[in-house]
């Protein structure tokens, strides 16, 4: 069973194509995704880890990299509910 970090990695990877992305790489600045992708990340986090994310959480700093997304999930006590 993949861990949370692995699930986040797989999600980001699915959206940026075949190029491997480092955990700390800024996925927005790298041009992999545009700003609207932040909404997709939030929806992924909600659906995958059962976390309720409010509009006030949509701060780019929470979602800038694989590592930040993972940290956000951990801070919110997210559990992996579904793949």
């Amino acid at each position: 069973m993949p861990d949370q970090l692995g699930v986040v990695r797989a999600f980001v990877q699915r959206h940026v194509g075949e190029t491997p992305v480092d955990d700390d790489e800024d996925i927005f600045a790298s041009g992999y995704v545009n700003s609207l992708f932040a909404v997709q990340v939030v929806m992924f986090v909600e659906q995958t880890f059962g976390i309720e994310v409010t509009g006030d959480d949509l701060d780019i700093r929470n979602f800038q990299s694989i590592a930040e997304i993972h940290r956000f999930v951990l801070n919110r006590g997210g559990e992996r509910l579904a793949v």
């Binding site: 190029t19 927005f28 041009g31 997709q40 701060d59």
Partner: protein
Amino acid sequence: MTGRRGTVPPLAGGTVQLWWARAEAAHPGHAALLGEAERRRLTGMRHDADRARFTVGAALVRLIGAAALGVHPRAVPVDRHCDVCRRPHGPPRIPASGLCLSVSHAAGRVVVAAARGTAVGVDVESVRGAPETAGMVRHVLSSAERATVPARPLSARALVATWSRKEAVLKALGVGLRVPMARLVVSGPGEPARLLRYDPDPAVVARTRLLDLHTGRRYTAALAVLDAGVHPRLVQLDGGRLLAAHPVPG
């Protein structure tokens, strides 16, 4: 659209120049106009389309800056440091030029807004591929905006247009997406663009002029201008022509 001769017209106060270009407008050699930090960022991009868009935006910024400073585009001191984390992903600034710049790209479109002495923020988005509307409603709209959503669901286009308006304001303020979209209230999709509320600092509302821009039905775009009076003058310019007029070897 003016700028047919491929030159940068003088930029007067109270005017905003909008330079539009297609993502494929850059000759590969235009990358040679870029500075070291920009080329490093380009190297970090592994998709051709991303490199093309970034090159068009960065080359236009340098050509506009070169006209203002009277120097070669490569000699324009472009600073892209983010105010918060100091990484080079912030908006381009050209110290001592008096210019305020904002760049946006989406799919096949690139736009650069340039003004003198007044902050500008521009955003263009592709409607295609936008996140599903339920997510947009929950994470982009404020509670005040959700309360006015009509019984008929908002179209993807209307929601993306709202995003563009808000992102333009956040870019003009220099805060980017560090301020959640739900903390801004803008006018409804069918109404003229206006910033109605900005929770982090209510005084921003009176300083901000917001305008929808039109660049084809597959895109939404908006411009925010700070402290420029009621009617900033917009000049639409052909960025593709400007790039084509500056061929570079390579």
